[in-house]
Structure formats: structure tokens, C-alpha cells
Amino acid sequence: MNGFEQALTTGIEGGTIILYPALGELIGERAGVVNLGMEGCMLAGALSAFAVGAITGSAWLGVLAGIGGGAVVGLAHAWLVVKRHADQLASGLVLWFLALGLTSVLGANYVSQTVTPLPVINVTGLSAIPWIGPIFFEHDSLVYISYFLVPLIGWALYRTRIGLVLRATGERPEVVSVAGRRPELVQMGAVVLGAALAGIGGAQLSVGYVDNWFDDMTNGYGFIAVAVVLFAAWRPWLVMIGAYLFGVALAAAGVLQAHGIEVNQYVLDALPYFVTLVALVALGRSGGSRAPEGLTKALTNSS
């Protein structure tokens, strides 16, 4: 395996950790709620997954617990923002700090423990394809599930009634209300579902990728997820590409250095953010951003 191939493989694996919360953020933002607390949801997911995985010995039970951990933080955000009309940005940041504090304290006992990680499965046949095989088909199952999740979410958003209601809630909640649906419920559901996905991302990190727990282990992945949604202009397929772009950028320097090519890690790290910024500017120039209207309102009125 050459350096380039290895960078891409690691990029997909690390990108999946970003992809799950980014899909979650996409769903929430499409319903008009931004969640800056994705980092907190991921931490809760990562610790729950690791703790349950370590105690029961089953990584899959861990993943389920991760979903629950993320969802609990998401429920708190949904309640504050939707039911109490709290400032979305402040609420997200507060829940990040809360989750950071709680997981650091509660997870202290798990720091040196071990867990049986999610097994890496080589997909029969597909993994034998040169190039593509090792890059895409030699991972743990959460990576494969994410391959199906992206088209599923795209289909649900654009082709189903619930997706229509969700998108309408993000644009004009009052219209949804007049149509006899309850936008508050839709938003709460979207935020909790999104946070649960972030919990899976956390699980992929703690029981799939590094097989370890230490405090603040998400190290900004949750914020990258928020950036990926901006990069993707709220499109599921572009979210996938964006997540892999960030994943490859994060992985590339280490891999390239191991192959004797000197690059500064942090120049590569900054690159996707820079691309996102340029994309925002380009979108803005081409006749206004495509942000859901309710989201723009929430971000402007929040102070």
C-alpha cells in the first residue's frame, strides 16, 4: 500500500467519524435548528459506547449506548431551543461544556481500560478490487452502514412526506403549522435524531477507530461536522464528500510523513476550512446562500 492509498484509507475511516455527526447536523439544520453542541453529543456518545463496550464486552451494545448518549444531549438542546426558545448558539456551546465536564469526570475510571473493538470486515469480492477495494471496503461495519445512510437520508429528505415536512419546518414553520403539522415536534425529532447520529460518530471514534477513551477525545470533530454542513450547502452527498475531504486532510500529513514526505500537518488541517469559507463566499455571490430560511433567522435573531 503506497502513501497516497493509505492516506485515503485512513481518511475514509476518520472521515466516517465526521460523517455521522455532519449528517445529524444536516438533519437538524434542515429543520431550522443549529447545534453547536455536536462536539458534546459526540463526547457523550463516545463515552457511553466505550463504557458499555468495556463492561459488556460487546462493541455493538456500545454503539447502541452511544446512540443513546448522543440522543440525551440532543434532547436537552431540543428542549431548551424548541420549548424554551433559548438562544441556539449559546445552548449548543453550553451543552458542549456540560458534556465535556460530565464525560471527563464520569469517564476518569475508563481511561486505562480496554475494549474489544468493532471488527474490520473485508467485503468479499469488493475488497479485492485494486485501489478501490482497500480504500473503501476494508473497514468496520459502521463505515459500511454510513455508505447506505447517505442515500437513505437523501431519499428521505427529498422523496418522502416526512422529509418534505422537515424541510418546510426549516423554511417556514408557520406554514407547516397551518397545514396541521406540529413544527415543534418535527424540530425536536430532528435535533434528537441528529444528536443520535453524532453519538454513532462518537462510538465510531471510541470503539471503532482508536479503541480507547480519554477526556476531550473528540478534539474538534463535532465542530468540523458543523463546518462540513456549510461546505456541503445542506446537501447529503456533498456532506459525504466534505467529511472525507476533512478526514483525508487530517490523516494525510501523518501518513505522508511516515513515507518520508515532509508536510506541515496544520497547513493541511486549515485547508478544508479555507475551502469551506471560499465555498460560502462563492455561494453568497451567486445569489444568496441556500441556507434554510428558519436557520438564517435563528442565527440573526439570536443575540
Binding site: S104, A227, Y266
Partner: protein
């Protein structure tokens, strides 16, 4: 009632029948309204107290779950914030970057803009100050070095914040989003510099810049660990208070924040005001980064800002963007941050436990500050 009756007895002939009944009616109404207001006020106060008690109770439970005594922990936080040796100066020093970055949120908030970029603006301020400070070294007298570093820090923060304002005005890119992205670019810029070009060759391979030369370090005052930076930060906070509350610029910002269309119809330069509010805000945070660097850290370190920019956003929220309250909130959060090592030492709690306390303090107003609209 007595007053009314004496009044009617004193001037019986001047009162028309409706005037006789009216005072009683209106006084009853006043009575009822006052009673309603006070019960509602009392209820609100009660609810607020209740929420805070629940929040602190949850924190106490968290502490208990680690077999530590919550009263001891609260006591330890008070001790390290107020009573132990040298604690107050330490809190004040820590509050310098937090307060200035919080004011960096409050100034644009007047113009209706959301600055989530305090972190990046702090970092850029510290980076620029390091660049200038290390470059100047011993070549100029101390006070010129301080001025140059301060201008560089303020300028770098202003550019970082103003850029987001510019993008908002030119291409309508949401500033909450762009400032967030700029935070990460700032952090990566700092790390790039620290890991390669600016790495201290004598630092034992650690990613840290060369330390500032000793006479560039802000001098300590009154024989305490308080340094000149604290005075500068206080002056900056006063200037912000004056600008926002008393100056024409502050008034214009409020008009823009209130109703942008009305502001532009009234002939206010809306775009320029918005950009300037972001630039001034960013500059304040940049100055905070410079003061923290030249007063406390003395060399650029990775993770030196320790999420102060985000804590500052919450401080500005807690202080409702009122300069005076924002300063108090910043001091409170600085005190909480300072108490972390003590809790780690005495109770074996992870230092991040203070983040949970900070969150519980801000959750309370989030729960309470509901702008209740009509039921959906």
C-alpha cells in the same frame, strides 16, 4: 381608604359623583395590579431561584458520584477564587482575555451581529503580538515594545473580526458561521507557526515560540502579580462602556441592530457600521490575546487560549451584552476556571469538572429566558 375619606371630607363640594367613585375604582385596580405584579414577580424570582438550586444540585450530584463532598468542593472553589493567598490577582489575570473576548461579542451584538469568533480573534492577537515582540526583542525600550505589540494584537484581531463583517456585508455570508470557521483557521495558523517557523530552537523540541524578552513583559504593579495588562483591560472596558452607552457610534449601532431598513432610510452608513462593530469587537479580543500573552504566558503556546473565546461567548450571553454585567460574568467564569487545579489536587476530580459547573450556571438563564410566543 382613610386618606380618601379625609379628602372627601375636606373638600366635599368640589367632588362630582363620578370623581367620588373613580378614586376608589382606580385605587382598587392599582391594588389588584400591584398584587398581581408582585405575585408574578415573586413567582418569577422563585422559579429562577429554583432553577439555580436544581442546576447547582445536579452539579453536587456529579461531585457526589465521584465520592467527593459537594460542600467541600464549593468551599474549595470559593477559597481558590477569593480567600487563598494570591487568588484574587490570579482570577483577575485570567479574566483579562475572557472579559475582552466577551466584550468582542457584545459590541457587534449591538448591531445585531453574532460574533462566535472570540477564540480565533484571541489567538490572532496573541500570534501577532508574539511576532512583533520576538522580532523587536531588546532593540527598543519596553514601553515602545508594549505599544507595538498592543497595536499588532488589536490590529490582527480587528482584521480577523472585520473580515467576517466584510463578508457579511459583501456576499451576505452569515457572520456566526464565518467567525466559527475563522477560529479553526486561526488555530491552525498558530500551530503551523509553532511547529515550524517560530519553534523555539532552544525549547527542547517543544512546540512553543521564543519567550518575550524580559523587558517586553508587562510590568507588575503594587508589588502583586497584577500587571499593567489589567489596567489596560479595565480602560478598554470603560471605553467600550462609553462607546456603547454614550457615543453617537454606539447609538447608531443600536439603531442598525434594531431595524436595519429604518437605519439605512435614516441615512446611517449601515454597512460601514456593521463592519466597524465587528472590527472593534475583534480588536478587543485581539488586545485580550496580546495582554494575556505579554502579561501571563510570556510565550506563545499551543492551546494557550484554552477555549476562553467560547467561554467569553457564554459570559457575554450571561451578561446580556451589558458591558458592566459582561465584566462581572467574565470574572465569575475566570474564578471558576482558576479553581480547577485545586479540585484536581484535593478531590481527585478531573479538572474539566469546572466546565460542567460553568455550563450549569449558564443553563439556568437558558431555561428561564424563554421568549414565549403564542402557542403554535
Amino acid at each position: 381608604m382613610n386618606v380618601l375619606s379625609t379628602k372627601t371630607q375636606d373638600e366635599p363640594k368640589l367632588l362630582a359623583p363620578e370623581e367620588l367613585t373613580n378614586p376608589t375604582w382606580s385605587s382598587r385596580l392599582t391594588e389588584v395590579v400591584t398584587a398581581a405584579i408582585s405575585t408574578r414577580g415573586l413567582r418569577r424570582l422563585g422559579v429562577a431561584l429554583g432553577v439555580y438550586v436544581v442546576c447547582l444540585g445536579l452539579f453536587a450530584l456529579l461531585v457526589l458520584s465521584q465520592k467527593a463532598n459537594p460542600f467541600g468542593v464549593f468551599n474549595s472553589i470559593f477559597q481558590s477564587a477569593l480567600f487563598s493567598n494570591g487568588s484574587i490577582p490570579e482570577v483577575i489575570l485570567r479574566a483579562v482575555p475572557i472579559v475582552l473576548a466577551a466584550l468582542a461579542v457584545s459590541v457587534p451584538a449591538r448591531a445585531g451581529l453574532v460574533n462566535v469568533g472570540g477564540e480565533g480573534q484571541l489567538i490572532m492577537g496573541a500570534v501577532a503580538a508574539t511576532g512583533v515582540g520576538v522580532y523587536l526583542g531588546n532593540s527598543v525600550p519596553g514601553f515602545i515594545g508594549w505599544i507595538c505589540m498592543g497595536v499588532a494584537g488589536f490590529g490582527a484581531g480587528a482584521v480577523w473580526g472585520g473580515l467576517a463583517g466584510l463578508l457579511r456585508v459583501l456576499v451576505n455570508a452569515n457572520e456566526a458561521v464565518t467567525t466559527l470557521l475563522l477560529n479553526f483557521i486561526a488555530n491552525d495558523t498558530m500551530l503551523y507557526l509553532l511547529y515550524q517557523p517560530w519553534k523555539d530552537p532552544t525549547g527542547g523540541g517543544q512546540p512553543e515560540s521564543r519567550p518575550l524578552s524580559s523587558h517586553e513583559v508587562l510590568p507588575r504593579l503594587f508589588g502583586s502579580s497584577i500587571n499593567l495588562g489589567v489596567i489596560i483591560a479595565m480602560v478598554a472596558a470603560l471605553v467600550v462602556w462609553y462607546l456603547l452607552k454614550r457615543s453617537g457610534w454606539g447609538f447608531a449601532l443600536r439603531v442598525v441592530g434594531g431595524n436595519q431598513q429604518a437605519a439605512s432610510r435614516a441615512g446611517l452608513p449601515v454597512n460601514r457600521l456593521r463592519i466597524s462593530s465587528m472590527a472593534v469587537g475583534g480588536g478587543l479580543a485581539g488586545l485580550g490575546g496580546m495582554l494575556y500573552l505579554a502579561g501571563t504566558q510570556l510565550q506563545l503556546l499551543p492551546g494557550g487560549t484554552a477555549t476562553y473565546g467560547y467561554i467569553a461567548f457564554l459570559a457575554a450571553f450571561l451578561g446580556r451584552h451589558d458591558p458592566f454585567k459582561v465584566v462581572l460574568a467574565g470574572l465569575l467564569f475566570a474564578a471558576i476556571a482558576v479553581s480547577a487545579p485545586g479540585l484536581q489536587l484535593s478531590y481527585g476530580l478531573d479538572g474539566n469538572v469546572v466546565d460542567a459547573l460553568l455550563a450549569f450556571i449558564v443553563v439556568a438563564p437558558l431555561v428561564l429566558s424563554s421568549r414565549r410566543k403564542g402557542a403554535f
